[in-house]
């Protein structure tokens, strides 16, 4: 939720800025450019780690080592605390997601029980 709020704030400030400089008509072009930039700027070696609590240095080192071995390249970490997570980690490396959170396990278990 925190992420979404942040996005809203950034978008609102951009619109406010464009509105004050009377150049709101540039908005679609800016949006297009931002989309293109976002695709180029995806770092294949950066892992975004979401967890319920802050990871200790030892845990971070362990995750980094394991991920580097798994993806066969040196991986850097960027950690984030997500209060919505009950436990476990969610790792996103350039669109490749390893969801090891309890939330995901429970969701999958629910699907398994309902749909077989």
């Amino acid at each position: 939720m925190k992420d979404l709020n942040q996005i809203e704030i950034i978008v609102d400030s951009i619109i406010e800025y464009l509105s004050s400089s009377q150049s709101l008509d540039l908005l679609p072009e800016i949006a297009k450019k931002l989309t293109e930039k976002s695709w180029v700027k995806i770092d294949p070696n950066l892992a975004l780690i979401s967890s319920a609590v802050k990871l200790s240095t030892v845990q971070q080192a362990l995750v980094k080592k394991t991920l580097s071995r798994h993806f066969d390249r040196p991986i850097r970490l960027k950690t984030k605390i997500d209060p919505a997570i009950i436990g476990g980690l969610k790792i996103n490396v350039a669109g490749q997601v390893i969801d090891a959170t309890l939330n995901h396990h429970l969701e999958s278990l629910k699907d398994q029980v309902i749909y077989g």
């Binding site: 669109g95 490749q96 390893i98 029980v113 749909y115």
Partner: protein, 508 residues
């Protein structure tokens, strides 16, 4: 209750947490069973995507920043922003002997209220058709049981023969007769229902059950109420199942009922996927849609097991217009067509086959010799009749030869009339066509031709069983067989004066 408890316990026990790295994206837009998904950087064409609640989708468009997918099933629970994962798998359908006698959906799900068939293997829905190396020419017949088809427009195993005509001209009826006639003929039938009323499928199942033809038939159904994605996939599922049998050296027959609705479903999907539209709003690859499907019909050579897949696609025309887009496409892909006409149907000529416009390009080689011996004369007699019939309408004073030809033609037309539920064995067809083309029915009044036929075939069956057996086995009319036929047919005519002489009313 105990069962439910057991079921839930089993499902929980089966659960193993998935910790593999998956390519995950999100739904950007969603509507009418089509979703645009962002973030799937390494999605493949025709890959299966997993949506929430075990719903699956199929990638059909790969754009620069997103992938377009069709959702296979209900999409009401999905919403924008939902997570979508790539699975790395392509679409497959379960195949095996266990499917015989069952009604399944295009993804292998049972539709007949019975448990899912326990198959051990599966085949990909999309597959490039085998090349020239593994193919052989068509050499064995498919006995459709329809006199007009088996004699004049023969279909061979491995052939693609189109059934084309307006609505309610008996297109499906011909396919159903063919399926009914395959009992004990080593031909596994796969009837693919595309975009038809669910009542049609239910009726088809009942009909096939009634004639005990469901024991060698598989029905793959995507009814009108199913999403277009399933209607689009149904024929590919049908041929994938047929490929399993062909690979085992068996013969399979696939009926696609019908490909017009298949093209409509594909047009719908393509427009929703925002692909550029062409003639009649069909997408540019609508030809490839059907050509890649029908190219999978095959007669394999001996080294490849000798199996075959025969295709009977059905196309519905609008007001007899065969030059519309989809009909011309499919006509050009197939090895011939059976053309059905409303006028003939309404005139009581059923099956309403227009013998002049119907052709079979390769089936002649597959016809048994006995049938070839009698059908040449039949075709000639019928052609002469059609030519003269047009003139005869204007003149009342006809010479004897012309009148004889007209009379012969009328009787042949009568003999070729047949109920959809009365497929005829090949030996009976040969005897009947031999009799009519050799003038044994010339004196029979037209309205008694059917009675003559029934009585004649009954008598042949009871008095000459060996003759029928030898035609079926030797597949040729030897001089000896012809002599016996002449003798017994003459004897039949002599003993059935009421059927072989003109009534007084007729002669007036």
């Amino acid at each position: 209750m105990a069962n439910l408890h057991q079921l839930i316990t089993n499902r929980i026990n089966q659960f193993t947490p998935d910790l593999t790295a998956r390519s995950v994206g999100r739904i950007i837009t969603l509507g009418d069973g089509v979703a645009t998904v962002s973030g799937l950087n390494d999605a493949m064409m025709a890959e299966i995507l997993e949506f929430p609640q075990k719903t699956y989708g199929l990638v059909l468009n790969l754009d620069k920043h997103s992938a377009g997918a069709i959702i296979l099933g209900n999409s009401k629970h999905l919403k924008e922003g939902d997570e979508v994962a790539a699975t790395g798998r392509i679409l497959q359908v379960p195949v095996g002997e266990e499917l015989i006698g069952r009604v399944i959906g295009p993804l292998g799900n049972p539709l007949d209220g019975q448990p899912a068939p326990k198959t051990s293997s599966s085949n990909p829905l999309e597959k490039i058709a085998p090349g020239v190396i593994s193919r052989a020419s068509v050499s064995q017949p498919v006995q459709t049981g329809v006199n007009a088809i088996d004699s004049m427009i023969p279909v061979g195993r491995g052939q693609r023969e189109l059934i084309i005509g307006d609505r309610s001209t008996g297109k499906s009826a011909i396919a159903i007769t063919t399926v009914i006639n395959q009992k004990d003929k080593n031909l596994i039938c796969i009837y693919v229902v595309i975009g038809q009323k669910a009542a049609f499928t239910a009726q088809l199942v009942e009909t096939l059950k009634k004639y005990k033809a469901l024991d060698n038939t598989i029905i793959v159904a995507a009814n009108a109420a199913d999403v277009p994605a399933l209607q689009y996939l149904a024929p590919y599922a049908g041929v994938a199942i047929a490929e399993y049998f062909a690979a085992k050296g068996k013969d399979a027959l696939v009926v696609y009922d019908d490909l017009s609705k298949h093209a409509w479903a594909y047009r719908e999907l393509s427009l929703l996927l925002r692909r550029p539209s062409g003639r009649e709003a069909y997408p540019g690859d609508v030809f490839y849609l059907h050509s890649r499907l029908l190219e999978r019909a095959i007669k394999l050579n001996k080294d490849s097991g000798g199996g075959s897949i025969t295709a009977l696609p059905i196309i519905e025309t609008q007001a007899g217009d065969v030059s519309a887009y989809i009909p011309t496409n499919v006509i050009s892909i197939t090895d011939g067509q059976i053309y059905l006409e409303s006028d003939l149907f309404n005139a009581g000529i059923r099956p309403a086959i227009n013998a002049g416009l119907s052709v079979s390009r390769v089936g002649g080689n597959a016809q048994i010799k006995a049938m070839r011996q009698v059908s040449g004369k039949l075709r000639m007699n019928l052609a002469q009749y059609r030519e003269l019939a047009a003139f005869a309408q204007f003149s009342s004073d006809l010479d004897a030869a012309t009148k004889a030809q007209l009379d012969r033609g009328a009787r042949i037309t009568e003999v070729l009339k047949q109920g959809w539920d009365e497929p005829m064995s090949v030996e009976n067809q040969v005897c009947l066509i031999w009799a009519v083309t050799n003038g044994y029915l010339d004196k029979t009044p037209v309205n008694k031709v059917k009675d003559w036929q029934t009585a004649y075939l009954t008598q042949l069956k009871s008095t000459q069983p060996d003759l029928l057996k030898s035609i079926a086995q030797e597949k040729i009319l030897t001089d000896k067989i012809i002599k016996v036929l002449e003798k017994s047919t003459q004897r039949f005519n002599d003993s059935h004066k009421d059927l072989s002489l003109q009534d007084e009313v007729e002669t007036l």
